[in-house]
């Protein structure tokens, strides 16, 4: 059964783990929106829209046994000195599990430099070099003795 929830302020914990897209934006909002709480760092906040799944008691994680609450919050657009920023966050069980920059500054030197550093995070399969698409590994140092244990040796075996 679904219930409509009043729009609420969302206070973001800077200690929450963000997985998925890594976006480097270190900005302080210059204008705070009505009801907007802010954490020093990473995201726009405020009285945004929220959609939820299941029948949660609250977004902060207290939920009936066996129910995992997923809530998506879309922040209002915040004007910063670099340009507009709008972030959508997904909370699962009270922790941030996804973050998307719906709007982020572009077109000026600083923003472009920041955006140039936004490189995606590797998924688990790639991180452990088990993706079959990797042809070689640099830096996995080895002489003949160490080769057998090396990542390169594992790749050579699977691709041969």
């Amino acid at each position: 059964m679904k219930r409509r929830h009043p729009v609420r302020r969302v206070v973001l914990s800077t200690a929450a783990t963000v997985s998925g897209i890594v976006v480097l934006i270190g900005l302080k909002p210059t204008a705070s929106t009505g009801g907007g709480a802010q954490a020093g760092g990473a995201a726009a906040t405020g009285a945004g829209q929220r959609s939820g799944a299941a029948a949660p008691a609250s977004a902060s994680g207290a939920s009936p046994k066996g129910v995992t609450v997923t809530v998506t919050v879309t922040g209002k657009t915040v004007q910063t000195k670099y340009g507009p920023v709008q972030v959508r966050l997904t909370f699962t069980g009270g922790r941030i599990t996804a973050a998307t920059a719906l709007q982020h500054p572009t077109g000026n030197k600083i923003s472009d430099k920041i955006n140039a550093h936004a490189v995606p995070a590797l998924d688990q399969e790639t991180l452990t070099a088990q993706s079959a698409t990797i042809a070689a590994v640099s830096g996995a140092s080895y002489t003949s003795a160490g080769y057998k244990q090396s990542l390169q040796s594992a790749i050579d075996e699977t691709r041969a």
Binding site: S19, V22, K113, A116, H117, A118, V119, P120, A121, L122, D123, T126, L127, T128, A129, S131, T133, I134, A135, A136, V137, S138, G139, A140, S141, Y142, T143, S144, A145, Y147, L151, Q152, S153, I155, D156, R159
Partner: protein
């Protein structure tokens, strides 16, 4: 010593299969001429004064020239003659040079794509390859994954304490460098250059960042001893991803 070379060659016909033999032979020949672990190599004999530079193979003079150029462009942080040793030791770039040369033998024979990894230094010629950069602090894991644009050439060379052992020296002191880098990886079109820049950059430590940023056509990716990552502003054009 014993470096392991891994070949991945795509396309081309029988000429490429023959070229594989020639490429392997060229690697053995480079070892015979340049290995400082072989007392009878030309490099060793040169160091003992038993052989004059003019009497060495032409490659020896070419390597010497490459080393002098690398020394100039790195402000002396790449050095083929470090304090305490009076001789010419091209170890800092000879492996990259030899791998690049062997890869070109295959490409010239008609291979569409060549990926040659000589002990962690990789030359890509043509093709569409992905290359991982090992995480020096997490054995068995990658710190990053890079790719050249399809059909373009790219070299990836990494320096660090595990890989180079005692061959990296601060040219001012002759001692292993004080550094906050666990590994330093250079990406540029040619492996001879990448190998030299990786050697120099690792020796520089923190100063490497500004230096490699200013060096044209070269990008870098580094892991510090505390596990932090940094990379040059142009690195994302090669980067498929980095570890979180």
């Amino acid at each position: 010593m014993g470096t392991v070379f891994s070949f991945d060659v795509r396309g081309g016909g029988p000429a490429v299969r023959e070229a594989l033999g020639a490429a392997v032979a060229s690697l053995h020949q480079a070892d015979e001429v340049f290995s400082t672990y072989r007392p009878e190599s030309q490099i060793s004999r040169l160091a003992r004064g038993e052989l004059a530079l003019a009497d060495c193979d032409p490659e020896v003079r070419e390597l010497r020239r490459r080393c002098e150029e690398a020394e100039r462009r790195s402000g002396g942080w790449f050095s083929a003659s470090y304090a305490g040793a009076g001789s010419f030791d091209p170890t800092g770039l000879v492996k990259g040079w030899a791998v690049e040369r062997a890869a070109r033998v295959l490409a010239d024979a008609g291979a569409d794509g060549v990926c040659l990894n000589g002990g962690g230094d990789v030359q890509l010629l043509g093709g569409d390859w992905k290359v991982g950069i090992a995480d020096p602090l997490r054995p068995g894991q990658l710190a990053a994954l890079v790719a050249a644009g399809a059909g373009t050439d790219l070299a990836v060379a990494t320096s660090g304490p595990a890989e180079r052992g005692c061959h990296i020296r601060d040219p001012r002191t002759g001692e292993p460098p004080a550094t906050s880098l666990a590994s330093f990886t250079v990406l540029c079109p040619r492996l001879t250059d990448a190998d030299a820049w990786a050697t120099a950059g690792y020796a520089m430590g923190d100063a490497a960042r500004d230096w490699i940023e200013a060096l044209p056509d070269a990008e870098a990716f580094a892991v510090t001893t505390t596990g932090a990552l940094w990379y040059t502003t142009g690195f994302p054009r090669y980067a498929v991803g980095v570890r979180a």
